[in-house]
């Protein structure tokens, strides 16, 4: 717990360093006329200082929720599955089109994350993808990608 909390502050410290390094590549200007890198550099410096303070304030703070375990056993697989499915969705959306990609994504989510019977998974996916297509594409005229099959 304590070490994980510290690691999180170190991640932010690294991020702060990255912000500072990248900001220094931009013109900082002067006090009279601050440049494009002025505010991000300031934000990076403050983030770095605060990360160092947070690093030494390890453990749960006053009023902070105390968790028995930060990670639920075995649930991380579902989280990774959802994230991978979403990445896959964004990759195939333009190619396969909205209807097909959405249908496959929903089947995956219904069936494999919190497993539902196939009947519910297929029926629910079909209904949700067609309904959302009708509402957003046909009714609200949102331009959803048609894909290679044209729908």
């Amino acid at each position: 717990m304590k070490s994980q909390s510290r690691i999180s502050t170190l991640v932010w410290l690294l991020f702060a360093l990255l912000i500072c390094v990248e900001s220094l590549r931009l013109p900082l200007g002067s006090w009279r006329d601050p440049g494009a890198g002025f505010l991000p550099l300031g934000a990076g410096i403050f983030l770095g200082i605060l990360s160092v303070i947070a690093f030494f304030q390890t453990g749960p703070q006053k009023g902070e929720k105390v968790q028995r375990s930060r990670w639920s056993k075995g649930r991380w697989k579902s989280i990774v599955l959802i994230l991978l499915a979403l990445c896959g969705y964004s990759i195939f959306l333009d190619f396969l089109g909205f209807l097909l990609t959405t249908f496959f994504l929903l089947i995956l989510l219904f069936r494999f994350v919190e497993p539902q019977p196939w009947k519910v998974a297929i029926g629910g996916s079909l209904l949700a993808s067609v309904l959302s297509y009708v509402v957003f594409e046909i009714w609200l005229k949102t331009q959803l990608p048609p894909g290679v099959l044209g729908f």
Partner: protein, 502 residues
Amino acid sequence: MTLEFFSNLYMAFSVAIQPTNLFFCFVGVLIGTLIGVLPGIGPVATISLLLPSTFQITPVSALIMLAGIYYGAMYGGSTTSILVNIPGEAASVVTCLDGYQMARKGRAGPALGISAFGSFIAGSLATLILMLIAPPLANIALKFGPPEYFTLMFLGLTVLTYLASGSMIRALMMACVGIFLGTIGTDTISGLERFTYHSYTLMDGMGLVPVIMGLFGISEVLLNIDEQSTRREIYQAKLSNLLPNREDWRMAILPILRGGLIGFFLGILPGGGAVIASFGAYAMEKRISKNPERFGQGAIEGVASPESANNAASQGAFIPLLTLGIPANVVMAILLGALLIHGMKPGPLLMKQHPDLFWGVIGSMYLGNAMLLVLNLPLIGIWVKILKIPYPILFPLIILFCLIGCYSLNNNVYEILIMILFGMVGFLMKKFNYEGAPLILAFVLSPLMENALRQSLIMSHGSFTIFFTRPIALVFFIVAIFLLVSPLIPGLKKVPKGGDID
């Protein structure tokens, strides 16, 4: 003054009563109640989700609908608190204490009834005060220059981090991250690209919708899946007699009025909002009660007061947005984004340049509150049925709405990737107790703050004394610094809860 008030009132209703606006007000409060009822999806995610669909309608109708979602969610949030002991919204957390106890004693009906009536009375009261306060405040705001704006925004961020439910240091860290994210894109003053790495998607800056949907929508789904908080038990008693009796009214009417007033003024406070208002109102009622031991055991005042306060606060929060152009909380930050996308610039001139928008929204609040009262009492049975939808069925649909909302904004799949990235970051932030609210508020305020800071320094030829020599800026600055250092002062206790809006 009186004539002006009635002329404004007439204008408010003449705009709000137009069939299109009336329709969008109804849609807004209906959706708001629905998402208020459903734990796991809040007004922040919903407003972001529906933001792209408002591009087809007029800015007035859009703002009326989005505002309706916000205060509608405050109504709906109490239903789950009372019946399931799970707050539909963070602002209804405190309602669980007495609401659920009332339900267990067979008084779920009056608890739901008084929360709906209380919300209506306090909401209407808040709208009335909003009408009275907004015009003079907008006139004062006309005197604000860049230093005043910068220090006010700095104060807003400080208040939000001060009220954060966890560590103030971590909340400040998130504010710094938000400020950095807000600088991504083309610099408006020099025209230089910052942190875009030649990405076309990032040239216009990081999109507000993908960031919010990731941080508040996707991350919430991931957290619910991870913590298996997907199963809930619903209070099974038959709901009857929703109307509170005479004794209930006698005990609740003053808490409703007090809750409404406290809620409204805490709602105005930058960084405050409905959460802190509901806690504040509950604490005050308990303190002044002759029988404080009844609180937590099913006292009707413990439901009436916080529910009135959160509704009034959601309306009070419009004051800084509409008069100063500064969002008081995350929802207002999204509404600011929505107005900017629609080509409107919220601020002191909004009332003069777009009176139809300003007064139309206020008029719609009166009507929206009435609609909510009519909607809520007969529909409570339906909300209970919706609550029974299992989360395994609900979460793919929430994800689907996030995807559509995110993509349809610019028809850009890279924005979906940004949403996924922030979903993952938001999930980890929640796991490690970093709050999303300061990040989002800082992200939205960042471009405004940067412009105000740079203009101030140009005005003062590089001297920071400009923030201390102008009285209004000095007051804002002193209050902000006091809040920042107050945790270090022995004997000064930090306010225990609040901050996160969604």
